[in-house]
Amino acid sequence: MTDPNALYPPAAALADEKVHPEAETALEAGTEAPPGAPQERDKPRSLTSDAWHDLRRNPIFIVSAVIIVVLVVMAAFPGVFTNKDPRFCDLNLSRQSPSADAWFGYDVQGCDVYARTIYGARASILVGLFTTLAVTIIGGLIGMIAGFYSGWVDSVLSRVLEIFFGIPLLLGGVLVLASFPSGPNTPQLVTVGKVVLALAVLAWTSLARIMRSTVIQVKHADYVSAARALGGGAARILRSHVLPNAVAPVIVYATIVFGIFIGVEATLSFLGIGLQPPVISWGVAINDASTYIRQSPHMLLFPGAFLTVTVLAFIMLGDAVRDAFDPRLR
């Protein structure tokens, strides 16, 4: 499991290609069509509409988007996928293999694995969603401030960034959560909230960096100087110039990191320090199943497969979005 802090700057890791420079000049040499030639490009297309146009045809995008939609539905309305009660457990059925009655078999406690796997989606999606939102907002704000108001503000914030950067995500998560343990009596919302908070506090740095460098780049652009000369205030410039430029890398990063957070949460739950019963989570299920891995692998494999597919879907989605937004592929 990789640290999202290592995701940036090697942001190019998941992207490819670059239009060949000579071909570029050859093609760039003017778009005015000679008289008599068919009119092809009638109106200018923006980067986002170009990106969307490409995305719609990308099979990876479609597949991962569909998977994610299904998962979100699963999280919101688990009843659609199963009518069994994930909390109804009969010890007599303990560790039984998959059958027509129970597609994924039963776990150690005799609970239906399929039902628990379906209901487990909710915890993962919620943690992923809230953590990503928190990281985007916190990181985005701090990055924007640091980039815009350079000078001592930037220096201080950059030092803070470095400090948080020094704590790897998983290790830090263990640290924080070990100090604020949850037990079977803690309300589910609190348990989930603790995990979200712990991860958000440690993972906002990468997004802050992305935002900060975007702001710095845009700040020095000529059109921003022009806007300032025309009397544009900070808020306006941030809104009209900085944000549109930041949208693409932020979306790409947020999508990928969503998947990574789900993975990290599952790992923490697996360790016994993240989500805990009574919260139903894939990580917890895998933890419980681990002692019987030899005898009853089904208890581990099904939640494991769901977890893997979920994380993969988000990362591949982010990959596809990045390729679509990469102007070098035009």
Binding site: A23, L27, P34
Partner: protein, 344 residues
């Protein structure tokens, strides 16, 4: 077609031997997602010892691509040489297998590029990079190579060469870096030096110095120099003859002196007229209207006709061949004589 297009130098023609470098009806295309771009569409020129040929054109005219094809370093894919020949002392380089071809590179034909900062490897000292020529091609020892490198650096007038031999490219100024590239290129005394926009990225005063250096080196070593540029000013002092390129073809060939006073092609005329002149201060700047075409959709007939003030129907239908208008002057225009006359 060949005989009317090639322009052997009078000396070579008189001596009856093949020119030093001859490009004969070269065709290069780029196959990309957006279509096939014909970057070089039948280009021919020749070069002799001690001669300087200036290849003039805007971006996209194909002037750099031609040079890359001559060197054999075109990125393929997406670029492909689809026709023509490149002859060095009579030997067709395009027909040679790669390892034989490579023997010519650096040793007989060398190239200098535009942006020396990106053209030099940032993580190796400049001395090491120049020395590579000696160590790899001639098997020289590190010590001997180092000595030669310092000599070279002094020759291209890099001050304190001995102390700076182990410095890195980013520690030099733009002009110095260009000199380093030149030193690297002339290290093995090549017969032909191709300089692709060697001064475009430099300040005007530094430009002059670099051009002077190139001219000196050429005279000293009797190299043939191909100067690729879009800057008419640079050409005037240094070149013997000039070929003007547009949309992958040569539009006009001439000896340098005459082309400035009396261009015989509307494109050249347009270029000359678009140079701002002090004595015309206060008047509108004149520019060639329109834009260069996309090389995937080159206009029918004459490539320049959509922008040409002399254009008639025939220009849209029939592509003009490069023909001799006046002895020594070649132009690819149906109305070359009119253009010539208009300048008197």
């Amino acid at each position: 077609m060949a005989t009317t297009d090639t322009y052997p130098s009078p000396e070579a023609a008189a001596a009856g031997h093949a020119p030093l470098l001859e490009v004969d009806d070269l065709q290069v295309e780029f196959r990309t997602r957006d279509g096939v771009a014909k970057a070089v569409n039948g280009v021919s020129y020749s070069l002799d010892e001690g001669e300087t040929l200036a290849v003039l054109g805007e971006s996209g005219s194909g002037k750099s691509v031609t040079a890359l094809a001559v060197m054999g370093i075109l990125d393929s894919p997406p670029g492909f040489v689809t026709g023509g020949a490149v002859r060095f002392r009579g030997q067709d380089l395009l027909s040679l297998p790669e390892d034989e071809r490579r023997a010519y590179r650096g040793r007989n034909i060398a190239m200098v590029f535009q942006d020396a900062l990106s053209a030099l490897n940032p993580v190796f000292p400049v001395g090491w990079q120049i020395g590579e020529m000696f160590r790899v091609h001639e098997g020289m020892s590190k010590k001997d190579a180092r000595g030669r490198v310092i000599e070279l650096m002094e020759r291209v007038r890099i001050p304190a060469a001995r102390e700076r031999v182990d410095d890195y490219p980013h520690q030099f100024s733009g002009g110095m870096r260009q000199r380093i590239m030149i030193a690297m290129a002339i290290a093995l005394d090549p017969d032909v030096l191709i300089a692709d926009e060697p001064t475009t990225a430099l300040d005007v005063t530094v430009q002059a110095q670099i051009m002077e250096l190139l001219r000196d080196l050429q005279r000293e070593r009797k190299m043939g120099l191909i100067l690729i540029t879009h800057d008419l000013g640079v050409v005037a002092d240094v070149a013997d003859k000039i070929s003007v390129m547009y949309a992958g073809r040569i539009m006009e060939k001439a000896v340098v002196g005459e082309i400035y006073a009396r261009p015989s092609h509307p494109y050249t005329k347009g270029l000359l007229e678009s140079i701002p002149r002090v004595d015309l201060k206060g008047q509108d700047l004149s520019a060639i209207r329109g834009l260069p075409p996309s090389l995937t959709r080159i206009p029918t007939g004459c490539e320049f006709h959509p922008r040409c003030p002399y254009a008639q129907d025939i220009c849209r239908e029939k592509r003009p061949a490069l023909l001799e208008v006046v002895p020594g002057r070649f132009s690819a225009c149906h109305f070359a004589q009119e253009v010539l006359d208009d300048s008197i």
